[in-house]
Symmetry: D3
Subunit: 257 residues, 6 copies
């Protein structure tokens, strides 16, 4: 059996050994969500899983199976639920999944968790899921769990962004299926990217409010929220390097080495 950082590839005695030795559990949160005509539905699964895998190698952690379905897509950050193929969970279902997963591993002895979110809309219900998990563990008499929760894209150097966006980084919100995600996919899974289908669209310009159901013209037709042209694997590598290095540093700072 290979010595894998993916806990799914370990046998239970191997898992137990590592966890008893203090291995940190990294739980990537994905989604099945449209990412434009040029990217697959699993972008938000692949990216946080890849980040978690590399971080786990650095810190001797274990990557738990990535959640394949996430919280509902929003028009201003993910295109919205009306795109065919975007398949999401109610907030309660998503939060309870995290609660149950953390709780079970806590009952089995894990005490250190890092949730690595790869889908913007997962942020809040994962906060709730983690809060419920710790509440349930306290009810079981377990009070020494420590958990981090992060969005991987927040771990990037200003300089990297300046290199990628010479005109100024416009912020993460619209980076859906755009330059950043496309570049990371070109670095990690180029076989799943069809550059010929990148839409010739400029950056979306949403009003500062949600409107439901979304009226005609509110949604982006392609599902891409900003310009993806110019994406390349090299940019993806810059980003991945930052994500892995900086998350590793944060974990080392918080959990020690």
């Amino acid at each position: 059996m290979v010595d894998s950082v993916f806990m799914a590839e370990l046998s239970w005695p191997e898992w137990q050994t590592k966890v008893e030795a203090g291995a940190i559990i990294l739980l990537p949160l994905g989604a099945t969500e449209q990412h434009g005509p040029h990217l697959p539905l699993n972008v938000d699964v692949i990216l946080p899983t890849a980040v978690a895998e590399s971080v786990a190698r650095h810190i001797g952690g274990l990557v738990a199976p990535t959640l394949q379905y996430g919280y509902k897509s929003m028009p201003r950050t993910g295109g919205g639920q009306s795109f065919p193929g975007t398949t999401s969970l109610d907030a309660q279902t998503f939060s309870h999944t995290i609660r149950d997963v953390i709780r079970d591993m806590g009952l089995h002895g894990a005490r250190r968790f890092v949730i690595i979110n790869g889908h913007f809309e997962n942020a809040w219900p994962s906060v709730e899921g983690l809060d419920l998990a710790l509440r349930d563990l306290r009810a079981e008499g377990i009070r020494d769990v420590k958990a981090m929760r992060l969005e991987y894209w927040d771990f990037v150097q200003r300089e990297t962004l300046d290199r990628i966006f010479p005109g100024g980084f416009p912020g993460t919100e619209l980076e859906h299926a755009s330059l950043i995600e496309t570049s990371l996919m070109l670095r990690l899974r180029p076989d799943l990217v069809d550059l010929s289908k990148i839409p010739q669209e400029s950056r979306a310009n949403f009003p500062p409010y949600d409107i439901v159901p979304p009226p005609p013209g509110y949604l982006r037709k392609s599902g891409v929220l900003a310009d993806a042209r110019g994406s390349c694997a090299e940019i993806g590598q810059w980003l991945l390097d930052d994500h892995v290095t900086m998350i590793t540093a944060a974990l080392t700072k918080e959990f020690g080495r």
Copy 2:
């Protein structure tokens, strides 16, 4: 972009095109569950996903992302929840996940679903999840969904079992981490099998009742419920052939071609 049977690898317009053309959605149900010292925690993810993939190729279907966490393991069929690494969901969480996934795809136009279960304990909560999905879809005015739900191991010829178990097939319940699952893993992911760790254990002999919390001696120490010795990839191939052929036939019968 490759032409994949995994919907996660399609872009949303590709998903839409296939679903509008009537593609059947196959949803594999997995688990993160101990499978003895010689098998990894993801056996119940790998096997139904592989079956679904092959069936999808035959019928032009689409495989939805496999649920990575399943319903709680039971001592008599999966070893029970006390094994470290076995990470499960409450019944409600699991059923609601299925409800949400089917509902969302139904709202996006999918009308034909096949749930391919790979973890014994998922059976009942997946029945409930499917029932809730169809109820919710009726509330949305969608009444023409048709869905199958099956355990893949029920699709095997008597003769195959006779070949594998010359002394008589003792039934599926104890085939946890045993000859059948080990052989399928040797066929599909030999890199994740460590034959040297197969326990020298005979078939478990459970009383016909559950007892909670499990008393000492009730659980199998290794997590293996029957003998795994003699497993080989060839047996795995026989089984896989049966599963794929017979499930394909059932789908063709129920959904037409």
Copy 3:
């Protein structure tokens, strides 16, 4: 006041006295479900209650009020939900009922429980309900509860089945409203059996999958899944004797005498 094994017939001081003396609580799980044209809707209430009553007499236990409504009927094991009169609960409602009942009795001092299931589809949601009950009791600081959970029909001798089915016992799944249940009813409540209405049907032959909503021809018209002809009270007595004797033995083994 009679000295009853039914806790419902005791006053609260009597209940308290017995429970403090260590009386085991037996909770029968019933259903309101079609059982063909010759049997009433309460077969699954009457049978586990009768078994529980006899067992309770042997072991000095107390029978809690039987749950009158069970989890949803499935076509392959109970005919399915489409039969008028089959009145069922959602899985969550059913599981929560068991959780609440066990929890309350646990809070009042009961520590030993036996769930005696009389309706096939109740099996899984009762596992969940029991798990939730013990979780809630742990949160209340109560960690010494011990509980069994069983299906009464699993307690029968091979020889008894051979006597009843000289051609070989075909398995419990299709024994819905068939020879076994009809015979037990003839033994216990012959006034509720109308032998003249036993359908002239052979054994059902279901494919190994569920299909929802059930297509025409998938369901048995009568609601009977196997042949009920030949049922008699004597067979019912054989079965009842086995059930009571063997469950009593199991309880004595697990809980002591």
Copy 4:
């Protein structure tokens, strides 16, 4: 098969025939609750079931299986949850049970329901359960259900109460395990009444508030809230006559004949 008013004793075709002919479904709501040292735990099951049975005979209705467990007992009306043997459901569990039962029968064609409550604390969660049932049925496109909900003890003539309480009827709230319930039990199930154990207690005098957890002295030790001395079957008959006659009249008025 007997021609029973209890739907549980009918076969499914018999149920269907009656419901299609317009039979009203009467659903009694019980409880498993202390009723002092002289009465059994099932008083609140027996009484509404008996009332429902008689009413059903008059109007050609069907009595659904009585809910055996009710909502939590309150100190001021039922003694409170701290009495051993009082075994209750959370409000959500109780409401969902009613929702599920009514919904299922509605899906099978029943359109006229009467909920006959026999446990004070059930009143509010049964209002909620009925509201949720009708909401769910509307979502299924069923909008012609009509339902009544009542407490059986509200159907009594002023003169009857004056005859029973020559000093003036002090109101129903404290009539827990007292003269009225004891008399009804003496009329219906004298075998379950132990007159020798009626406590020598006067009427409880609760402050106009709840206090949790109940402090010492707040609860009645015996569980009886008013004087039960003087109970007799004749009084029980008077009450039963009123209940049945007046509920029958109300049903006839609302549902026609």
Copy 5:
């Protein structure tokens, strides 16, 4: 900053100081519910808040923010849900709100609570909410919370009612939008009362049952259940004096001074 009895007007250190000194938290339960053509929708918010404010001044307590939405209105006590503007919560939502609020304050050190209900239909779901809160706090290891729960209108002297209703007080149930509530509003918020719109209606005469959906003629057209004519601020003052004096006395008795 003013020294307010409303905790919402305190800073967090002020709140902490008062709670650590033992301040009782008073939580008023309101509703947004029709109160006839002459009263606003917030009667059930204003009245318990005013009572709580005065009581808090007497006992040095803190008034938590009043719940603005209550449990569903019933026809016999509040007119029913069919009146436009009556905006209510499901029982679970309402109970969970109370659970969460009490739990959070308990986690922050509050140990003494008084729920002051101002909307009849809130009574039962607030009992449940309080029970769930204390259960959750026990799971957190907090077992020394003491809570009262009351309806403010129950705190009135017989003599006051006799003065107001010289013909005899007909009971609180129909006092919806009638003499008592109108007088209290004239005392507290005369600007929100339009005496010219008091309907010329006599006392409602409901049958002793609920019927859903309410048939024509079952509901009061105006939403007023009894006569509101003759309301005046002086009567409101009498009532308010009683409410405040008697609730203060009860709190002093239970919690000490």
Copy 6:
């Protein structure tokens, strides 16, 4: 009766008249949350309510009662749940409150809603609540609801921020209990602000992740996340003007006039 924009101050016929004439319902979402030593716990109630009130006056809308309790405070945006006095709801409770309120008003004829959020952490669970409300309304056959959802602070001109922050606006996230909120409170409720207690703290510098439970040093001691010094009513007026003008414009654009 005054002609109020607060629906709580209207009688039900007045509410009905306005809603039938097309009045937009504005629902402010508040919180009971620490805002440092110089501000009260109800900042997040007062601010969105004031904005909603002014907007309602401009567009002829109705302000629904503000939710007094919000979703849990997060350390990086609101200080976190560990501050005494911060009293919050679970995500499900909060989302269900919004669902129920919108659903009920939808059933009474309202078709146009604007949710005006005043507490950062409410954003996501209010998205969910609104989604659930519209789902429930569709199940009731109501499909023509249109709703906006916004955070009021997003409606501000760049120039205003530049005037307030001559050194550059550092973003809304840390504006908790800081210059912006303090100024708005000085404009709206100066009686609740204690300028002498503004902490001498610089801007918080959080790492880009959550950590639970928060370790020592992670939280801000005062609860203030950025500098509040320099707050004044004039700045509050500038902001309020922007909020009202720009939200009014957005509503007019989306809903017409």
